[in-house]
Amino acid sequence: MSSSDVRDVLNLSEGASGTRPNKKQRLAAPRPNLKGLAREVHNLGGDNPIAIVPEVTQFKKRRFANRKPASRWEMRSFRNSARNDSTLILKHWRRIEEKQENQGSPAEELKEENGTQEGQAPAQDEMEDSSFAKFNAQVSVPQYSDDQYAQTLTSETWTKDETDYLLDLAKAFDLRWPLIWDRYEWTPPATNGEANENGDESKAIVPLPDTQARTMEDLKARYYEVAAKMMAVQKPVQYMTQPEFALHELMAHFNPEQEKMRKNFALNAFTRSREEAREEESLLLEIKRILARSERFNEERRELYSRLDYPHAETDISSFKSSAGLQTLLGTLMNASSKKRKTLPGPEGASPSNPGPPQAPVQDSGRRESTGPSTGNREPPATGTPTVANKKGQSQTQQPPAERPKLTEKEEAIYGVTHHDRLGSGPTFRTEKINKLFSHKSNQQQLRINNTLNELDVPSKLAMPTSATTLQYEQLLGAVNSLLEARKVSDKLDGEIKIELAKKAEREKANAPPDSENSKAQEDASKENVEKGAVTTAPEAEAASKPDSPDSDDVEEDDAAKNTKATGAQKEEEEDEEEIGVESKAARPGSSGAAQKRSASVLSTASDKSSKRQKK
C-alpha cells in the first residue's frame, strides 16, 4: 500500500499526491542494482534497499605447524601368550622409543636401528607379549580323579565321560552357560565298543535325542553338583571360610526346576501383549484390595469371637456331653434353684471366725447345699438328699444363697455389713446422701438452710459421716426445714395482719365522714384487690433472706399501704367527688392501674394461694 492510498482513504488533497510518482521515479533511479538477485527480491525491500552481506569464502587457517620431526613408527612382531598356538607370530605398528631417537641422526639411526632390531628380534619377540593376554582369565573348573568320581560323583543320568565333556566345555567357554548349552553336542562313545563306521553311525543316531534333552538347567545342575561336591571333598564344610561356605551352599542347593520356572515366567512376561499387561495390573490391584479387606474382616471376626467367647468351664464337662448327662444336669439345676428359694440362714452365734469359700461353712456342713452349677461337677445324685432335708421346716427368703458364708451379727458389725429394704447397687460414698438432701433443694432454700445451720453453729459438712451421724443430720435437716416452713407461714401472717391493720386505719379514716355509701360489691372487689396486692408482696418478702428483718417488712407495709390507699381512693371518688377529687385524679391512673397489672401478673399463683387462705 502506498502513501497515495492512505491519502485517498483520508481524503487528503490531490495536489500532494500528484507529486508522488515523480518523486518515486527519482528515488528509484539511483538505486544500486545488486547483481545476482531477482528483481522481485529487490522489490521486497520496498523503499529501503535490502541489506545483503556478501559471504566471504574463507578457508580454515593453517594450523601452526609443529616444527618437530614426525615420530617414527615401526612394524614389530609380537606373540600372544593367551593363545594356544605359540608359534603364531603377528606384527603390529609401534612407535619407536625416544631414547633411541636421541642417539644419532634420524637417517643413520633408522638404518642402525633396523640392524639392531634384526639382531635383537628373537629376544624382543620373547619379551613382547600381547597387551591383551592378561585378559585371558582362566576359569578354574573342578578337577577330580577317577576314584573321586567313583566315590562321590556317580550319577544315574550322567556318565563320567559326559561329565568330563561338560567340564571341558565349561572351561572352554568360561562358564558362559548359553554358549555351553549351544555348543553342547555330546556323542557318547559307541555302546558296542567297536570303533568302526557302524559304531559311528549308531552314535550319530541314538544319542541325539538324549543330548537334545539336556537343557541349560540340567547342565548347570550337574556342574554345580560336581563343583560343590569337589569343594566339600577338598575342604570339609566345617573348615570353610564364610564366603567359601556361602558359595558351597549356593551351589549345593541349586534348584533347576525353580530356575526353569523363573525363566518361563520371564519369557511369558516378555511376550505378553499390552492388554494382558493391563489386565495383570488390574488383577494385582484387585488382589491387594481383597487382601486388605480380608485383613480387616479377620480383625472384626476375631473381635467378635472374643466377644462371644463363653467363659471356659474350669471343670470337666465331658460328663454333660451326652443327652443323658444333659438330663442329669438339668435335674441338678432345677434342684439347685428350688433349694435356693428355700435356704435357711445358718444358726447364729457359732459361725466360723474366718468364713471361707462357699463349700465350707462349719455350721451348715450338715445341711449344706452340695452343689450348684458354679461349684463344679459334683455327682448329681448327691444333691437329692440335702434337698429333701432342706424342705423340712425351712421357709426363709431374702438371705444370701447357701453357698455364701453367713455372718453373725458381730461379724456383720465388724465387716460393716448392713441390710436395707431398698438399695441401688454400686459403690457410693456416705456423704453423697447428705449432698443429695441439699442438691434437691433450690438455691434459695439451700441458702436459707445454711443460714439456719450457721445460727445453730453446725457446720454444713459433717466431721465424721457415719450412718449414725448421717441419720442425725437428716433429722436435724428435717427439723430445720419445718422451722423454715413455720417461719414462712408466720411471715405471711405478719404481712396479712399488716394489710388488715392498714385497711382498718384507712377505713377509719374514710369513715370519718359519716355519710359514706359503701356498696357491698364494691367493698368486696376492693378487698379482692387488696388481697391480691398482698399476695404480690409475699414473694418479695420471701425473696429477702431474712424474713423478719425490718427492711422487708417496711417494704411490704409500704406496698400494702399504697394499694389500699389507691383502692380506697378509687372507692371514695365514686362516692364523693368533691371531697378528694383532686387527690384521686392524681392517684387513680397511676397506682390503681399498677395494682391491677400486678394482680394480673400474679393471678395464677395468687389464685390458689388466696383460696388456701380462704380455707383458713
Binding site: 444363697p401 465388724i414 460393716g416 448392713t418 456416705r430 465424721m464 451421724t469 395482719i497
Partner: protein
C-alpha cells in the same frame, strides 16, 4: 467391667461399708521445711494429698488405684499410683506437691477388679491456709509444726456387692500387723494345720481395736487420728442439740403463729363487719 457371671450375683439388699480418710496436709516453706531445689519461687507450701485407711490400715484389698486430678496449672497434673494388691501392709495413696494456691482435687477411686464396680469420684478441697468461721478456729487449725490439715472421714459404701467381692469384704479380718496366714487365701482350714494358723477370734465390734480388712473404727482419738467413735458421738450429740434447738424455735414460732392467726381473724372480721355495716344504711 468384668462380666458379672465370673463375680457371681449381686448380694441383694446388702451394704458393706469401709471407712477411709481422704485429706491433705500442707506445710509452708520455712527453715525447718526448706524449699526443695527446682521449686518455683512463687510456691509457698509443700503439701500432700492422700487416701488411706483409718489407723493406717490396708485398703488395697478393695481399692486398686487412686487418681488425683490436680489443678490444670500444675504440670503433669494427671498422676496416679497403682498399688499392687499383694497383701503387704497397706501404704496410703499419696501425692506430694508444692504450690501456692488452693483448689478442688478430684479424687477418682478405682476398685479392685474383683469388685466389678466402676470408679467413683469424690472431691477434696486443698487447704494451705487455716480455715474456719472464727479466728479462734483458724488458730486452732494450725498444728504445732505449722501444718494445716484438712482431713475428712469418709465411708465407702458398697451397695449390693457382687458375690466374689462380698466374700473378700467379709473375710480375712486380722489384727494389725498380723503375720499369720495371708488373708487372701481365705480358705477355711479344714485340717489341723489350718487351724493352727487361723487368726485369733474376732474382737468385740466396739472394742476400739481396729483390725485389717474390717470396717472398724477406734473408740477414742489419738494425736494424728481424729476420727473415732468419740468424735462420732460428739457429732451426734451436737447435731441432736442443734435439732432440739431448732425444734424449740419452731415451737415458739408456732405458738406465735396461733396468736397471729387469732389477731388476723379478728381484724378480718372487724373489717368485714365494718364493710358490711354501712351497706344497709
Amino acid at each position: 467391667m468384668a462380666p458379672p457371671n465370673q463375680l457371681g450375683k449381686r448380694v441383694k439388699l446388702t451394704q458393706v461399708r469401709r471407712p477411709f480418710i481422704v485429706g491433705s496436709t500442707a506445710l509452708p516453706f520455712s527453715e525447718t521445711n526448706p524449699r526443695p531445689a527446682g521449686v518455683p519461687d512463687n510456691h509457698t507450701h509443700s503439701w500432700q494429698v492422700f487416701v488411706k485407711g483409718v489407723e493406717d490400715t490396708d485398703i488395697t484389698y478393695w481399692l486398686r488405684r487412686v487418681q488425683f486430678k490436680l489443678h490444670e496449672s500444675i504440670p503433669n497434673y494427671l498422676t496416679y499410683r497403682a498399688l499392687v494388691v499383694d497383701g503387704e501392709p497397706g501404704k496410703p495413696f499419696v501425692v506430694n506437691e508444692t504450690g501456692w494456691g488452693e483448689f478442688d482435687i478430684a479424687i477418682k477411686l478405682y476398685y479392685v477388679n474383683d469388685s466389678g464396680e466402676k470408679p467413683q469420684t469424690l472431691y477434696h478441697y486443698l487447704r494451705l491456709h487455716p480455715y474456719g468461721r472464727t479466728e479462734e478456729e483458724k488458730q486452732a487449725m494450725i498444728m504445732e509444726n505449722g501444718e494445716i490439715r484438712s482431713w475428712s472421714y469418709e465411708e465407702q459404701l458398697f451397695n449390693e456387692p457382687f458375690d466374689v467381692f462380698y466374700r473378700i469384704l467379709t473375710s480375712g479380718a486380722v489384727p494389725r500387723g498380723w503375720k499369720g496366714a495371708p488373708p487372701a487365701s481365705g480358705g477355711k482350714g479344714k485340717g489341723g494345720k489350718g487351724k493352727n494358723k487361723a487368726p485369733p477370734p474376732l474382737p468385740a465390734p466396739d472394742g476400739g481395736d481396729v483390725w485389717e480388712r474390717t470396717a472398724m473404727i477406734p473408740n477414742s482419738n489419738r494425736p494424728g487420728q481424729p476420727f473415732s467413735r468419740e468424735t462420732e458421738a460428739a457429732e451426734v450429740k451436737k447435731l441432736r442439740d442443734a435439732q432440739t434447738t431448732t425444734e424449740e424455735w419452731a415451737q415458739k414460732i408456732l405458738q406465735e403463729l396461733k396468736g397471729k392467726e387469732d389477731l388476723l381473724a379478728k381484724l378480718k372480721a372487724e373489717n368485714a363487719a365494718a364493710a358490711a355495716a354501712p351497706k344497709p344504711s
